[in-house]
Symmetry: C2
Subunit: 710 residues, 2 copies
């Protein structure tokens, strides 16, 4: 049939947090893309709500210079900050007691701590961000259902080929509304995604005007736990459900329990466990262990279109009709005794079975990728789901942008699976352990209940897990994009926390995201947070820590020697930047000396630290002092924070996601290592001239930008 | 003629920063009001740009719990922070030299320092805020011209009477466009406001459908330097213009001057002075002293409808056609020598004469008020105009809201003039001194130029003025709303900075805004900035510093004794709150103890510190610890910050604008003083029942709110 055909660089299937994060990257980098969702509207209540430290850092990194719209970093402002974690369990007399109080987020790992807000808010901020970055050109298209997907294998070696064909169908608005609280009586966790078949049963009836064949260079399947994209790739998940059944309530509690505004893990003696998560607007989320729920035997005979693995799983599902808010509350009241618990302003409820599953592959041919719940599912209580899902596409998005722009070789795309599969497996293992300890009956010392869960072990695991859960210790191994090997690693094996350090920056774990600190702008003396200066704009960064140029004149001489290399067409700065693009628009070179800012003058430094553009406007924002007293914000010493010697200096290379790719010497040899790094995967641009009217490139907001527009 | 008539509580004339701030208060407090402007569109460039510390604090105080819209506190995020002030002048050889560098904002006075952004952004955030607070019901109505104003004197003693009649006329959109750069060749500073007469000349021609007669309880004239409202009240300004003529350029400079991204005051030897103010997007504003500008003699014979005083002034006006960007730049180049200065991306320019004028009265009959430029004008270089203008209506707005709601007696309105006229006069005096020192030729020590301005005196005045300019030291005298007399003042006379302190809170100047610090929520351990907790929501606040209730059990007993008074219908807490309103919705009672939060439990405190509402939902956010170690943000000790004894405690009363109204003993006698304070001007509400469907009152966002809605 003669249906509509179209082309796009990237098609994102699924507008949840994972799909949205990918879309934000692509919009920020000016890549043509589309994002579709089969639901006709957004989420109003329930689902995920935890925002972890690394996620909040990422949100902040997208907000630089974004005027006048509700950016992602609203999260930190409006979400409920969870400050404290309290452990409650029976004392020797079986009486429910506060056993300990600890910080919910481990101090020192990030400037942000865990906070909690309804997923619907997060999706709204993403929507605004995508509109903002794409100048209103891209919005989520819904309800659109993917029908078929085909990878044309003879085209997969041409990175710019539109090698994937996806047939999509426009749905009727009403039939595509997700189940929401208030509309139907109840719903299992992620129940909607389980009802895939209802979309496909009427397909034969409709007319071809509803269809469109999209030819995409790349496809991202962010379509949830029952991912259609994953099924097309014929990837089965590893893992299974457990028999533990949990109920969830979002409501305002009326209670005399003293820690209701803190995060609490409560183990009762006989009645199961509760996780308490205080939320925005005085709401509290309760995860409540349910003791008796009947299995729903009817599903065994039900028609189902999923894979064998899924049919098997369905047969074990719980009977959702037995789970009501009242039944969940009743169980919670038992667990909370002797404290009272009543409920008002019920917002949402559901029931779910704990399961841990992970996909053995995260895509196919580096052309079609799956992300988020499509490749890992687990229990929600560690507040990880939304975060790891967004971090998947925070990893994938910038790589797709680099390849689509023709700046990087296609080979870098394979690092998505190698980097993120490990994270998913670590997460599943952590969740598996924690869930079992949380779901078990507690051992009560000096009592007859000696065969239960050791609560000290539970607390200890929980606290250890806090750094992991923060998302800040994710560590990527050697690849095209990470060069631990070239980084003068000081020890042959990782330390007890799994970190490896360069002898040149003894506190910067190579492969992990660079911890933020302040630097002082040479031009105006303002202390700047590196999280804002090193923002998510798609650029690599070369940080030249030049040391104390005032007291070590050789350092100053060396910096001057760099000028020639940076001017050379054979060297990374010019070689990988299109000839008519702004300087620093692909690789952002930032110099951070350790002299007192008042002892040196900007004009004395080589011109690459304050270059002029085609209008001779000066870019003042690439020369900083890393050490000194500020007028209003105290002392700054990023050299100490990073363990960099003020005489020797160092060079750090950051990927666009702020992971440290390479640490090398502050020397010509060190700069040559940086050059080698980029030669490994970047494509020379010395013959590339950007078309001046190309909407991808002539708008500074959309192409990576060397300086602000005026 | 039978023209349309309507009623409103407050009519604001003029949608500049001053009118907008008033509107924000009224919208926040749920008062019916309208805001009109004769211009058909907003400002696109130029005009005011400095945001001072106190203004940024006020912006922040309106942003609490405002989800999903660009709030006023965007200012701090997107504006250019001015960190440093540099003084340049000729050295002994006459060569232009950096004489000193100092912090632009005095350290320690506020968490915010001066920043700079185009006034149009500020007005946009105000627009959004008003829409948000009024649920989209109020927008600026434009272009609407006020035609006549009449105060019905026989009604002025009834606070709820619509005692002011204003006739307004709808203008044609095109004729009401302000002069903007790009549309016309140039424009004098505030040139548009000077062209009042053009609006009035065609009035006879039109039909009555364009007119509306508004009956307002109160009218606020925020209509600029050539205020129509002021003229109706027949108030003449005191003061005059000087002969100093200045040009202004907003552009991106191309220069080798090293401090171009800092605020600079440059005195050249022979060529005059320049003020450099670095702005957002790499723009810089230059205020440049012009040496030779012809007087425009034609204005003497021109028709003009202003007062005698204004006609006089007009005759001295400069010839605007002689001032071009090129002529201003040329003069700047002379001053900058030997540094080079070129210009690109010119955004706006103008010329103005320095003048300092202040109105002797700020309104009439406490029914019609004038604010902002309508009652004080001065040179723009101290970055004060927009700030003092907004602070005028930040003072007036909450008073109007209290009176319109029927909560406070009309008498409080007279404090607007008594409090703000003093500020205006201080500002004019400061500006007068500074302008003359800045405009004069510098004295060069050991040279033949010994009769000029002493630059040490200039710098010293500038630095002294920095605290004043920050807006944080504004001090209101005794009145119905300020009770220094009852505050146990420790010394008979103010200190060298003009402050008076209570012996109970030895670091809190009574009459000034309370400096912010952190307190720790008892319920969840989160450190909270008082600037956010004590937000601008129209409520008074009673802060009970109960001291160390753990180690001084008598303090705990006393707190328990307060419960009875707080429950009494004869006492302020109940007496001045409508009987069916939320507790704490008029007067917000906050208890801050100094015990370790972990040593005490919320449930042990009397119920006024954690009251239940009609649904039995608990308000957890009125009990705090003021002293302790936080998990992530270091030590907190607000008792030390405020100089309050941890055994004796104290009670502080804050006005809705956070100015300290009263400091009293933490005792029954002290609480009785608080009661006396409110009895002085509040109206008993013990027979007042809010109509449940009244849109003013049943929406928690609009009425003062005791707790968040869920």
């Amino acid at each position: 049939m003669a249906i509509k055909e179209s082309k796009t660089d990237v098609l994102i299937i699924g507008a949840g947090p994972s799909g949205y994060m990918c879309a934000t990257w692509l919009a920020r980098c000016g890549i043509p893309f589309r994002i579709i969702d089969k639901r006709s509207n957004e989420i109003f209540a329930g689902q995920a709500d935890g925002l972890q430290s690394r996620t909040l850092e990422i949100f902040k990194s997208f907000s630089e210079n974004c005027f006048d719209f509700a950016t992602l970093d609203q999260g930190w402002k409006v979400a409920n900050h969870v400050t404290e974690m309290c452990f409650w369990s029976p004392n020797d007399n079986g009486y429910l007691t506060r056993k300990s109080r600890v910080p919910d987020s481990a101090p020192g790992v990030s400037k942000y701590t865990e906070c909690v807000i309804h997923q619907g808010n997060v999706e709204k901020w993403f929507n605004d961000s995508i509109e903002h970055f794409s100048d209103g050109k891209v919005k989520v298209e819904r309800p659109l259902l993917p029908i078929s997907l085909q990878i044309n294998e003879n085209e997969i070696n041409n990175p710019q080929a539109h090698a994937v064909d996806i047939l999509i169908k426009k749905l009727d608005d009403n039939s595509a509304k997700p189940e929401q609280f208030g509309k139907i009586a109840n719903g299992l966790f992620r129940a909607f995604d389980g009802d895939q078949e209802k979309f496909y049963k009427d397909i034969t009836k409709d007319n071809e005007d509803d269809y469109e064949l999209i030819h995409a260079k790349y496809v991202v399947g962010s379509d949830g736990a029952h991912s259609w994209v994953r099924k097309q790739l014929e990837i089965d998940m590893d893992g299974d459900h457990t028999d533990f059944v949990w109920g969830v309530l979002d409501m305002v509690p009326i209670t005399n329990f003293p820690d209701i505004r803190s995060r609490c893990a409560i183990h009762s003696k006989e009645s199961g466990s509760v996780m308490v998560i205080p939320r925005e607007n005085d709401l509290v989320r309760f995860y409540i262990q349910l003791k008796e729920v009947d299995r729903d035997s009817s599903t065994e005979t039900k028609e189902f279109s999923g894979t064998t693995e899924e049919r098997k799983e369905t047969s074990k599902r719980i009977d959702r009709s037995k789970i009501t808010p009242e039944s969940i509350l009743k169980q919670a009241q038992e667990i909370f005794k002797p404290y009272t618990l009543e409920m008002t302003d019920l917002r949402w409820y559901t029931g779910y079975q704990i399961g841990q599953r992970v996909s053995p592959k995260f895509g196919s041919h580096d052309r079609v990728f799956i992300t988020g719940d499509a490749c890992h599912t687990h229990s929600p209580k560690a507040g990880q789901g939304m975060n790891v899902s967004m971090q998947d596409t925070y990893n994938l998005g910038f790589k797709l942008a680099l390849v689509c722009k023709g700046l990087s070789k296609q080979d870098i795309l394979s690092t998505y699976e190698s980097e993120r599969l490990k994270v998913a497996r670590d997460l599943i293992a952590f969740d598996h352990k924690l869930s079992r300890l949380f779901s078990g009956k507690p051992m009560i010392p000096n009592s007859d209940v000696m065969d239960g869960v050791d609560l000290d072990e539970f607390q200890s695991l929980y606290r250890q897990g806090s750094k992991f859960a923060s998302g800040t210790i994710v560590d990527y191994e050697d690849s095209l994009l990470i060069s631990k090997k070239q980084s003068n690693i000081s020890s042959s094996s990782p330390d007890e926390e799994g970190r490896v350090f360069s002898s040149l920056a003894t506190k910067v774990p190579v492969g992990r995201r660079l911890y933020n600190d302040h630097i002082i702008a040479q031009a105006d003396g303002r202390p700047v947070d590196t999280l804002e200066r090193f923002s998510s704009d798609g650029r690599f960064r070369v940080l030249i820590f030049a040391g104390d140029v005032k007291n070590h004149p050789k350092n100053f001489d060396l910096l001057n020697d760099f000028q020639e290399l940076i001017d050379s067409k054979e060297y990374f700065a010019k070689k990988f930047t299109p000839i008519n693009a702004f300087a620093n628009s692909v690789i952002d070179i930032v110099t951070i000396h350790s002299s007192d800012r008042h002892d040196v003058e900007l004009e004395d430094f080589p011109s690459f630290t304050h270059p002029l553009d085609f209008k001779r406007r000066c870019d003042y924002w690439r020369l900083y002092s890393g050490v000194g007293e500020t007028y209003h914000e105290g002392k700054v010493d990023i050299y100490s924070t990073y363990g960099i010697d003020k005489k020797k200096g160092a060079i750090l290379v950051l990927r666009p996601d702020s992971h440290v790719a390479l640490v090398s010497e502050f020397s010509i040899a060190g700069l040559n290592k940086v050059n080698d790094y980029f030669n490994g995967f970047m494509i020379p641009q010395t013959n590339v001239k950007l078309p001046p009217k190309d909407p991808q490139f002539d708008d500074v907001k959309r192409f990576v930008l060397p300086r602000l527009a005026v």
